[in-house]
C-alpha cells in the first residue's frame, strides 16, 4: 500500500515535472555543434578492461579481425562510406550537430558521411519484431528527458556495421541506451550496449565532446580530401 502510494506519487510527479518542463519550453538545450578532442579506433570500455564478449562474440570478432587483415572482410563504412552504426559513430573524430526542432524530435547530423539519426521524443521503444523489415545502420531511436539527461534508446539495427574500427561485432538484436548530458561546453554520451547474443553482460562506453558553435559542418564524400583532423589526438591518417 505504502509502496503503491509512493510509486503513484513518483509517477505523478514525474509526469508533471516532464509536462511542465515541456510546456514551458524548458527541455534542456543541447542543440549546437560538437567535436571530440580525441579518437580511439578501439572502443574504450568505461570501467576498463575488454568488451565482455561471449564465445559466439569472440568467434565473430576473430573472424572480423582476420578478415579485415586479409581483405576478406571489408570495412564498408570506410571503403564506400556507408553509415558507421552505433556506437562507432559516437567515436567520430569529425564534428556533428544536434537539432531540437521540431520540439518532439532530436536530430543528430554527423559531418562524416552526413550520417543522420532521427530521435523521436517521448515515444515507446519499438519492438524488434516491428522493425525486422526496416533495419537501419544507426537504428531506430526514441528518447526522453531524465532531468537534464537525454536518454536515447536505439533498436532495429542491421548487422552490417562494427562497434568500432577494429571490427568489434554485434548482432541485429542489439539495443543501445545512451545518456547524454551537457555540462558547460562539454557534452557527455554514455552508451550502454545490450547484446546478449555476443556479450556476457551489458557494458558501457563514454564519449566526450566539446561544444564548437564556431565550426560549420562541411560536405563529406568518400575519398575526398577532408577537413584537418590534426588537432584530434589519436587520429592517424
Amino acid at each position: 500500500m505504502k509502496f503503491a502510494g509512493i510509486t503513484a506519487f513518483a509517477l505523478t510527479a514525474g509526469i508533471f515535472a516532464s509536462l511542465s518542463a515541456h510546456a514551458a519550453g524548458a527541455a534542456p538545450d543541447i542543440s549546437g555543434t560538437y567535436w571530440a578532442t580525441t579518437y580511439s579506433p578501439k572502443v574504450q570500455v568505461m570501467d576498463g578492461g575488454e568488451p565482455p564478449l561471449n564465445e559466439a562474440g569472440r568467434a565473430a570478432y576473430q573472424k572480423n579481425q582476420a578478415g579485415l587483415k586479409d581483405g576478406s572482410v571489408i570495412d564498408k563504412a570506410r571503403r564506400v562510406c556507408t553509415p558507421d552504426g552505433l556506437p562507432r559513430v559516437l567515436a567520430t573524430p569529425y564534428p556533428f550537430e544536434i537539432f531540437q526542432t521540431p520540439a518532439d524530435q532530436v536530430t543528430f547530423l554527423y559531418e562524416m558521411n552526413h550520417q543522420t539519426r532521427t530521435v523521436l521524443m517521448d515515444k515507446p521503444l519499438p519492438t524488434l519484431e516491428s522493425l525486422i523489415t526496416e533495419p537501419l545502420y544507426n537504428g531506430h531511436s526514441v528518447a526522453h528527458w531524465d532531468g537534464d539527461t537525454l536518454v536515447v534508446q536505439t533498436i532495429g539495427f542491421n548487422d552490417r556495421t562494427f562497434l568500432d574500427a577494429t571490427g568489434l561485432p554485434h548482432t541485429d538484436e542489439m539495443i543501445v541506451t545512451e545518456r547524454i548530458k551537457k555540462t558547460g561546453d562539454q557534452l557527455e554520451d554514455i552508451a550502454t550496449i545490450h547484446d546478449p547474443q555476443f556479450y556476457t553482460r551489458d557494458w558501457q562506453a563514454r564519449f566526450v565532446y566539446r561544444q564548437r558553435n564556431d565550426v560549420r559542418l562541411e560536405d563529406y564524400a568518400c575519398n575526398d580530401t577532408h577537413r584537418d583532423l590534426s588537432g584530434i589526438a589519436g587520429v592517424r591518417r
Binding site: A17, L19, A24
Partner: protein, 299 residues
C-alpha cells in the same frame, strides 16, 4: 502533508505552464508563411497521379521550365526521354537521357560543355553510363540536389536551414555574408535570408566535380546558383525556383523550377541514411561509373 504540498506545487507549476503550450517550441527563425519543418512533414519530389499522366510522370526527376526565359538542358524530338515513371505509367520502355544540343538551351552551352554532352549522348545511345550521377552515389551539387523524387525533410533554426534529401545534406547559413574564399565543395557555400515568406539562397564556392542536371552537363567552379523557396498551392507545394550562372560554362544564365509536394505522416519522421553504396556495383557490366570509393580507410 509535506507530500501533498509538493504535489500541489508541482500541479501549480504545471498549470502555470499551460498557457505556453500553444508556443511552437524552439525558435525556428522562419516566417509564419514558410514553416517547412512541422512534425511529420516531408516534401516529396514526386507523387504518382491516380491515372497515368505523361506530363506529371515527366516531372519524376526532372526540372520544369521557368515561366519565361532560358530553361535547363532537355531532351528533344529526336530522342524523347522516358524515365522509369513514364515507362511505368505509359507502358513504354524506359530510355537513357539524350540532351538536345540544338535547342536554345543547347546553344547556350560553351563548346567544351557541348562536347562533353555529345560524348555522353553517344554513350547513352549505346546504353552505356546512362545512370545519373546520383544513382551512382555521388554527391549531386546544386541545383541537381533537387532532382531526387524522394522525401526532403527540413530543419529550420534561426542560424541555418538544413535540407535532408535521401542521404544527402545541405546547410544554408542564414543572415550572413559569403566567406571571402569559400573552400570549394560539393554543395558550395549557401547563404540565405527570408524575404517575406520566401527563402532566398545564394550559393558559390562549388567544386567542379558535379553536373548541374541529369544529362551530365558539367560546370566550372565559377558556378553561382540562386534559389527561391516558397509555398504555393495553399501551402501544399514547396516551389524551388532557381537560376544558374556560370561564365565558364554557359553563355547566359538559365533557370528552372522543381516543386515538392507536402505529405504529413506524424508516425514517420525518419531521415534517410546515406546507404547508397550498399550493394550498388555494376552487376550487369553496362559501363556504370564506380561509386565513390576510398583507396584506403582515411583514418
Amino acid at each position: 502533508m509535506r507530500m501533498r504540498s509538493l504535489l500541489a506545487a508541482l500541479m501549480l507549476s504545471a498549470a502555470c505552464a499551460i498557457p505556453t503550450l500553444a508556443a511552437d517550441g524552439p525558435a525556428t527563425g522562419a516566417p509564419p508563411g514558410l514553416n517547412l519543418s512541422a512534425p511529420g512533414v516531408a516534401w516529396m519530389g514526386f507523387v504518382a497521379p491516380k491515372e497515368p499522366n505523361y506530363a506529371i510522370a515527366r516531372t519524376f526527376n526532372d526540372y520544369s521550365n521557368p515561366p519565361s526565359g532560358l530553361g535547363p538542358v532537355s531532351d528533344g524530338p529526336a530522342h524523347p526521354y522516358a524515365n522509369n515513371e513514364v515507362a511505368r505509367e505509359m507502358r513504354t520502355a524506359p530510355t537513357y537521357r539524350v540532351a538536345d544540343l540544338d535547342n536554345d538551351s543547347g546553344k547556350n552551352l560553351m563548346p567544351w560543355v557541348r562536347e562533353a554532352l555529345q560524348k555522353q549522348n553517344e554513350l547513352a545511345l549505346r546504353e552505356r553510363n546512362g545512370e545519373t550521377r546520383e544513382a551512382r552515389c555521388w554527391e549531386t551539387g546544386v541545383p541537381a540536389f533537387h532532382l531526387n523524387p524522394g522525401a526532403m525533410r527540413i530543419v529550420q533554426t534561426p542560424k541555418e536551414v538544413v535540407l535532408f534529401l535521401v542521404g544527402r545534406t545541405r546547410h544554408i547559413w542564414l543572415n550572413v555574408p559569403h566567406s571571402r574564399n569559400p573552400k570549394p565543395s560539393w554543395y558550395g557555400e549557401s547563404v540565405g535570408h527570408y524575404e517575406g515568406d520566401t527563402l532566398v539562397v545564394d550559393t558559390i564556392g562549388f567544386n567542379d566535380k558535379t553536373f548541374v542536371d541529369s544529362y551530365r552537363t558539367p560546370h566550372t567552379d565559377k558556378l553561382h546558383v540562386v534559389e527561391r523557396f516558397r509555398l504555393i498551392d495553399g501551402g501544399n507545394t514547396l516551389e524551388v525556383a532557381f537560376t544558374v550562372d556560370d561564365p565558364g560554362a554557359f553563355y547566359k544564365p538559365w533557370s528552372g523550377t522543381r516543386n515538392r509536394h507536402k505529405v504529413v505522416n506524424p508516425n514517420n519522421r525518419l531521415i534517410a541514411e546515406p546507404d547508397c553504396a550498399e550493394a550498388n556495383d555494376d552487376y550487369f557490366n553496362i559501363g556504370l561509373e564506380p561509386v565513390p570509393t576510398a583507396a584506403k580507410p582515411e583514418f
